[in-house]
């Protein structure tokens, strides 16, 4: 077969995404809506884990800040939830800044553990209902749908296109970001932080920026989740949510945008296909995680930059550097 231009496949994918609600019933559109929210979360986490190489297993905390900001402000003050989108993103970003600031010098596993700690503290705080704001275990109900008079989002189909719009926006923005000076700085930090610092890259600033931007994305996803569900509760933001997001990023192929999309479709659609084994599906999910790491550690759709990083031959990073010299991700193009 003759090789088709990449634009063809992209066009086909966009056409399929646009046509999807006409091809299936409402149930499957709704499945895809949840999948879309995970896509947004996976994409935002990709900035932190994939681009900057910072292990974050507490992404649900940022997602929660976004969702609760929307829920609290819209139910208490009647602010239209659509207007709360930037507010939620900013709140999550500000929260990320405040908590990341003191821990930004931590590396690897230590950072991973601290983010787990923040995730758990967030969940406990939501349950304990500080100041009567979060509604405790029951959460907050009655979050209004996005509605600005002329523009409303109600039906599953409308939500589908609403979420699709943001996915396209994220994918476009992340593509720009990855190739920007900032993105190349992140690549350097991910490959070798000490060397990046020695080259004069402001590592602390760029790492904070990755957290803040990733959190803003999660805050936006939180807003969509809150209005779509019309309720928020602490259990929606527990550790396993963070874990699923992390797995979407890694199983898809760390740092790879198409990988995140493929992995989140798999994560949302496969359990629906195997409904009758619903009780065993988490078991299968766990087995898949282990088997994927053993047989295909680079993920479903690997990013070129990460290929050697994850499955590299030597644990001391020698292989990674070799790869870079031979024309991998150059920092100073």
């Amino acid at each position: 077969m003759r090789k088709l231009p990449p634009g063809f496949w992209l066009g086909l994918a966009v056409a399929a995404a646009l046509a999807y609600p006409w091809l299936v019933n409402d149930y499957w559109v709704d499945v895809m809506n949840f999948c879309g929210i995970y896509m947004l979360l996976g994409l935002s986490l990709t900035i932190i884990v994939g681009y900057a190489g910072l292990f974050n297993l507490g992404h649900a905390a940022f997602y929660a800040v976004g969702a609760y900001t929307t829920a609290i402000l819209s139910t208490r003050f009647g602010i239209p939830s659509l207007l709360l989108m930037p507010v939620s993103a900013l709140a999550a970003a500000a929260f990320a800044y405040v908590i990341s600031r003191p821990i930004i010098h931590l590396r690897g596993d230590y950072l991973c553990v601290v983010t787990i700690g923040f995730g758990e503290i967030m969940r406990i705080a939501l349950i304990n209902n500080p100041g009567g704001l979060t509604g405790g275990v029951n959460g907050i109900i009655g979050v209004p749908r996005p509605d600005l008079g002329l523009f409303t989002v109600r039906s599953v189909d409308q939500y589908y296109y609403f979420i699709l719009f943001f996915i396209v926006l994220f994918v476009w923005g992340m593509g720009r970001l990855e190739r920007s000076r900032i993105g190349r700085g992140w690549t350097c930090i991910r490959e070798d932080e000490t060397a990046a610092e020695a080259m004069g890259i402001d590592t602390a600033f760029l790492k904070l920026l990755a957290f803040v931007l990733g959190a803003a994305g999660a805050g936006l996803a939180g807003n969509i989740y809150a209005t779509k569900m019309t309720l928020v509760a602490p259990e929606g933001f527990n550790f396993w949510e963070s874990c699923v997001m992390f797995c979407i990023v890694v199983l898809g192929g760390t740092g790879s945008v198409p990988g995140v999309i493929v992995a989140s479709v798999g994560m949302a659609a496969l359990p629906e296909l195997f409904r009758e084994f619903a009780r065993a599906r988490m078991l299968v999910f766990g087995l898949a995680m282990v088997l994927m790491m053993i047989f295909r550690p680079q993920g479903l759709w690997p990013s070129a930059h990460w290929r050697r990083q994850v499955s590299g031959p030597a644990p001391d990073g020698e292989g990674v550097r070799q790869q870079d010299r031979v024309g991998g991700a150059g920092c100073w193009k």
Partner: protein, 301 residues
């Protein structure tokens, strides 16, 4: 004052439980530089297996605690050790030297598998230990009522930790474990079979975790399939508190965490108990990332 003494005793008991689990984390981290996310779930598995063993003893008509208690400890600790080795073989060994991300995901996957396997086998509800396995005797000391079981838990934990410490410090295998945790390549040059040492670590750590799980099960008399997660995370906090990779550090860290948590719960707020533990974790990592007894470690991503 009496309340304070009782809180301290409670804190030490809880802390010794954390310390036993923390030893498993710290030993695995010492030799593999890997957070064994499945360790907390092995703790939970230990509690469930002990419960099954106790129920079977009852069904077989054995009631004497002098027979039942050693049986459940032996069965549960033995099986959990095997599970630990199995996990290392299947989920960790193929990934040795495969970067940093892959083992983390594999460990999370192993944790999900254990949790859900237990859930499928036993059901998703609370499970209850049979009644009267240990006599609910309380000592009255100077106006306080102290449960004997608490004291027994504390003593047993201290004995297990003492035995482990002697094993690591005084035996050849212990020396080999210490050498492996310092440097794999050099240890191998000295004729140490790294794979066997890692296997020994995965036999001992989970067994101690299981012992802690059994004691928690005996004390609270109910077990739940997700209990391993939060407990494991706190034990990991204890390991970091003492300096990860450092065995006396894990013991000290566990005790301090238990005391801190119990006193904070008693005097500030019990609803925020778990949050205090994580705040302590974050404070330690920010102020002294190597822990209380930890040596300076050069961290490599």
């Amino acid at each position: 004052m009496e309340q304070f003494v009782q809180q301290v005793l409670n804190g030490l008991t809880v802390g010794s439980g954390y310390a036993l689990v923390a030893l498993g984390y710290t030993m695995v981290y010492g030799v593999l530089k890997l957070i064994n996310f499945a360790h907390g779930d092995l703790f939970m598995l230990g509690a469930y297996l002990a419960m099954t063993a106790a129920v079977s003893c009852r069904a077989a008509g054995v009631a004497s605690p002098w027979v039942v208690l050693p049986t459940i400890f032996l069965v549960s600790m033995g099986l959990v050790s095997l599970a630990g080795v199995l996990i290392e073989r299947t989920a960790y060994r193929p990934l040795r030297g495969a970067g940093r991300l892959a083992p983390v995901v594999s460990a999370l996957g192993a944790a999900v598998v254990i949790q859900n396997a237990v859930m499928l086998a036993y059901g998703a509800n609370y499970q209850v230990f049979p009644e009267g396995l240990v006599p609910a005797v309380r000592w009255a000391v100077a106006g306080m009522s102290i449960p004997v079981l608490r004291v027994a838990m504390l003593v047993l934990s201290l004995i297990l930790m003492g035995v482990l410490y002697l094993f690591i410090q005084r035996t050849t295998v212990g020396a080999a474990i210490r050498a492996t945790s310092l440097d794999h390549a050099t240890a191998r040059l000295m004729g140490i079979d790294i794979n066997r040492i890692i296997m020994v670590v995965f036999l001992i750590g989970p067994a101690l975790g299981a012992a802690s799980g059994i004691m928690i099960g005996l004390y609270y008399r109910q077990v739940y399939f997700t209990m391993g997660w939060i407990y494991g995370l706190k034990a990991f906090t204890a390991a970091i508190l003492g300096g990860i990779g450092n065995i006396p550090g894990a013991m000290v860290g566990g005790m301090i965490l238990g005391l801190f948590e119990t006193l904070a719960a008693g005097y500030i707020s019990s609803a925020w108990k778990d949050a205090f533990a994580f705040l302590l974790l974050i404070a330690i990592l920010v102020l002294r990332p190597t822990g209380l007894l930890g040596e300076r470690v050069v961290e490599k991503l």
